[in-house]
Symmetry: C2
């Protein structure tokens, strides 16, 4: 198959890429531990050439689309946020094209814009009357998932992209109308590694314990704040009511359950989970506790999203 697109997901901690055919089929994939935090501000072109120089030399004029934090102020080139509500054509139409030397460079390289939205803040206060939220990269996954699952015409859809900073995203008939960030994965890591609970939990990773995870979800759903429920990891261990090996899964359930408690989900709401297999499984277990059904389109949705954007450029 002839490559039609170099698709790149360049995030904070990792750099993933794929050569895609015109129909979106994956020809070859590569991943590098070169997230933007590892790249000096003037080093992006060098890393790009190191990682993809051979692909580009073998495919003169190849289109390259990048999504993720590469378009942030700390990335290669800042791509302005696209304001919500925003649909697929909004982000496809506002690509940030790179101005690269030499000018004869035939390949075209662009960064997909992130999204911003505003939520209700404080009454009558000018600066905090609304609170902004932002995403970079997840918008491409969402539009890829909508296409993969053929959900562009659903009037009201909720998607969750779990992770370091989980995104809960509302989509109405193919347009992202609002979204909210939760510091879930990061808070779990902080509690696991740096809090007093690190001294309570066994040092190494414990195998996933579904029963303890679900108990954590249930406690969180009945609670009012993770500030309070998290301390039960310590006291349940102190009173020998959970085995040491179960504590890590219980804490994971508390943190993911807290994220779900904070949503206003109807019991008949379907939720689309976009995550790796392990995290998808945990959110499925947790959503079952809320009586919520879910779909999962798998992990290739970034490539589907970038491929769909590329097709708007090759009409």
């Amino acid at each position: 198959m002839k490559p039609a697109l170099l698709a790149i997901d360049w995030g904070t901690s990792s750099l993933r890429s794929a050569l895609l055919a015109a129909d979106g089929a994956v020809i070859e994939e590569r991943a590098f531990p070169r997230g933007i935090l590892t790249v000096p501000s003037d080093g992006f072109a060098t890393v790009f050439d190191e990682c993809f120089g051979d692909w580009r030399a073998a495919n003169p004029g190849l289109l390259c689309l990048m999504a993720g934090m590469v378009g942030s102020r700390q990335g290669w080139q800042e791509a302005a946020y696209c304001a919500c509500p925003a649909g697929f054509t909004d982000i496809a139409g506002q690509l940030s094209w790179m101005a690269l030397e030499p000018a004869s460079e035939a390949s075209r390289i662009a960064i997909v814009p992130g999204l911003s939205c505003e939520r209700k803040g404080l009454e009558g206060d000018s600066a905090l009357a609304t609170l902004p939220d932002v995403m970079r990269g997840e918008e491409t996954q969402v539009f890829g998932a909508l296409q993969t699952l053929q959900l562009q015409d659903v009037p009201d859809l909720v998607l969750v992209l779990p992770g370091t900073h989980s995104k809960w995203i509302r989509v109405e008939t193919g347009r992202i109308t609002s979204f909210t960030t939760f510091m879930t994965g990061e808070s779990y890591a902080l509690l696991r590694q740096h809090s007093i609970l690190a001294r309570t939990l066994p040092a190494g990773d414990s195998p996933f314990n579904e029963a303890a995870f679900v108990q954590g979800v249930q406690i969180a759903l009945r609670g009012t704040s993770l500030l309070q429920t998290a301390f039960s990891v310590r006291t349940l261990a102190l009173f020998d009511r959970l085995s040491p090996e179960a504590l890590e899964s219980y804490l994971s359930g508390l943190v993911i359950g807290e994220e779900l408690r904070a949503q206003s989900l109807d019991a008949n709401q379907r939720v689309v989970i976009i995550a790796n297999d392990a995290l998808t499984q945990r959110y499925q277990f947790a959503l079952v506790e809320c009586g919520i059904a879910c779909d999962s389109p798998g992990a290739q949705v970034t490539w589907a999203g970038l491929s769909a954007i590329a097709q708007t450029l090759h009409p």
Copy 2:
């Protein structure tokens, strides 16, 4: 004045002490950076002698009472928890006396027991049907505060002891009926020092900004979870809606506001705050936003509590 009691508050990170007269008056105070985390498990007697040997030599037979984590499994000698509901006479009657060499040692040394309580957990599950909670040291502060403020006969009282692990304590006619731990101070420190927000906030301490603190409290009270509201520190900085110097106070307001949101406080509930001056002020500002009035007995309540226990031993 002749010393009647060596009063010690030996916590996780600090060791505070006072020589008290029979009427509770403070004769002399000392503090050491020798919290139990700095003491090897067989080193407590040595540290005790280094810190208080001269006082004890000058006052043969002096009674010594200790409160705090010194009575935990990681402390000098484990003092069994006293189960709630528990009143002053319950803890005064269950002191854990130290068995020390030489046997001729005339001084008497005892540790005040901590308290445990059980809250409703999961339906129909034996191990998690109730969730335990624990305190060590705060019980002595509470009984000291009740005496200092003459509140032993109030039918329904709420006290908050803010800190690394804040305690919210319900007291009915002088008896502690239940309490709840919130990992508030620790969560603030984790977010401030180890999360992505550490990269958003200025490196050094900023002066306290009351307006930004109160805005944080208001956002937290209208929110559903700190997992979500905390991310606004980053986005408000990204969109230049809060000055860099205001962000730290705003985050402090978010975290303390989250603790208050999770309480079920009536607007006519009075709350007693037991904390140092700086923290007392922040909780006063935050409670005003909830329409709650508060009292504050000052910082000497541990000495008042230990002195009251000593008086039960010298009838």
